[in-house]
Amino acid sequence: MKGNPIQLAELAAAEPAATTSIRGANRRKISSRIDPFGIIGMFLLVGIWQLLTIFVPSSLLPAPHAVAWRIANDFFSARELTYFGLPDASLLGSMLYTAENVVIAVTIGSVLGAVTGLVTARFRLARSIIDPVVLTAGTVPILVAAPFFLIWFGVGRSSATTLVLIYVCVTLYLFAQKAADNLDPVYEEFARTLGATPRRIVRDVLIPGTVPQILGGVRIALAGAWGLEAIAELLGSQKGIGKVVELFAGAVDVEGIFAALLVLGVVAVLFDAITASCFAKIAAWNVVVRPGGR
């Protein structure tokens, strides 16, 4: 490319400045997502934990560094777990199994619950029929139903996944129905007067108008799903992080229990962060789901 040498020199000089400014903006973007108070909170938690280990014996409360060391040791292969004949005898393998179940249950449960919730919000007859069923299912503590699922589906993946799926489905049903009830009718009326067909109203008004609340419901359901899945595995399963906790509890291996729970907690937090970030992109128009406000 030919050009005035002075202009080219200006461009050459300007380019690094522009690159620096983009890098600076990226740094600012990343730093704005990391809450310094959150980091202080984490350090405080670890500090208190460390402090408590002075007074509490390590057989009851292992030190943070010991748990970290245990996670590092057991992450890819856990010798202790092989004694129990556990397949995928590692924290990673067990966590992957649990995560798969949670993802399957949350995905299917969310779609089923959200679709049913939206349908019942717009069709009175469907609501009259489905509402009592879902609300009854919602009032029964879901863990009470765990033994039935174990009898029906055995100790495999199905029973734990079904348990979580039902919880997620009921949660999303209520969120989606409430979101559709709260959607201002003026949007549907405006669409109708502009010539929108009923199908277009569902696609262009009902779904986008309720998406922020539904996605909020998915995050809440996801947060609960990890705990439920772990408990379901603990009650009766051959694999998963819940099973690992059960085995370590049987061996009175407190350090192992802490390691498994910490891995579960970190994975749940990471999933929530990734989900929140994806949802913020899906509903970019909505202030509520955007991290850090508008």
Binding site: D184, V186, Y187, E189, F190, A191, R192, T193, L194, G195, A196, T197, R200, D204, V205, P208, G209, V211, A283, A284, W285, N286, V287, R294
Partner: protein, 274 residues
């Protein structure tokens, strides 16, 4: 001064009534036996106190509500459901928050199956006409109330409706913004002449707003049509126009109908039926 509108009837109401059932089971007559015609191209304001049935009547003409009795015809077709031929600007913000400004303006055209390039050009033209070309890619939450009303007006005009129904669209806006939007609305309305001139029915309880905008003012009270006033003052009308003798006389008549001065308004309230 704008040319006189063509006088073929665009909106025809014959004996229109609407009865609602309240939560306690009582029947309330919101609109009673309304009959009038609006010629094509006329700008009509519907004035009356709160709760007199103005919005109910407008919703029936829009097809969002059906009359309990009587019939409504628009462009020789009976109104039974909403139609893109009858655009509505609502009192509440109706612009879709999940669509960018330009997508909102072209939405009606999209529903009609128009190609993307063509509808985008039309939407941009109308955004320019309402003075919002610089925010076409903005989200509605980034706009002020006045700008949102401009978007709604642009969306309805861009959709090519032959009848425009506006339900107290600028009621919540400050005086300056309201005056600016009057200018925008009249500019868009005056864009086309003769058979292409849109017919406008504008609901308001603001007497000055009605006098500034209307060719004709229909006065509603307790669900009944109580007066039909022609406004012959030439356009464009300014603040000084409102001080002209004819305007002052009309204003007094309207205020009297609203029960604020002079002759008392009809005493009848909404007729309650059991």
């Amino acid at each position: 001064m704008l040319p006189e509108p063509v006088a073929s009837p665009m909106i025809v109401l014959t004996g229109v009534s609407r009865i609602f059932r309240r939560a306690d089971g009582q029947l309330v007559r919101a609109v009673t036996d309304i009959t009038f015609e609006i010629p094509q191209g006329q700008f009509v304001c519907l004035v009356g106190p709160s709760g007199c049935g103005k919005s109910t009547l407008l919703q029936m003409i829009a097809g969002l509500l059906l009359p309990s009795n009587g019939s409504i015809r628009v462009a020789d077709s009976f109104v039974t459901e909403p139609s893109p031929e009858r655009g509505v600007v609502f009192q509440k913000d109706s612009v879709f928050p999940w669509m960018r400004v330009v997508d909102n303006v072209e939405y009606g055209l999209k529903c009609r199956g128009m190609a993307k390039g063509e509808r985008r050009t039309i939407a941009r033209d109308y955004l320019t006409l309402v003075g919002l070309s610089h925010v076409e890619d903005a989200w509605p939450r980034e706009l002020s109330s006045g700008m949102l009303k401009r978007v709604a007006v642009a969306a309805v005009f861009a959709n090519g409706a032959s009848v425009l129904l506006l339900d107290e669209p600028f009621g919540s806006l400050d005086y300056v913004t309201k005056r600016q939007l009057h200018d925008v609305l009249l500019r868009l309305w005056a864009q086309s002449d003769g058979e292409n001139r849109r017919t406008v029915l504008f609901v308001t309880h603001d007497v000055d707003e009605a006098l500034t905008l209307a060719d004709r003012i229909l006065v509603l009270h307790s669900g009944r049509l109580v007066d039909d006033l022609g406004i012959g003052v030439p356009r464009p009308r300014t603040a000084d126009s409102l001080l002209m003798e004819e305007m002052m006389q009309r204003k007094h008549e309207l205020l009297a109908h609203l029960g604020l001065e002079g002759a008392p308004a009809p005493a009848a309230r909404r007729e309650e039926m059991t």
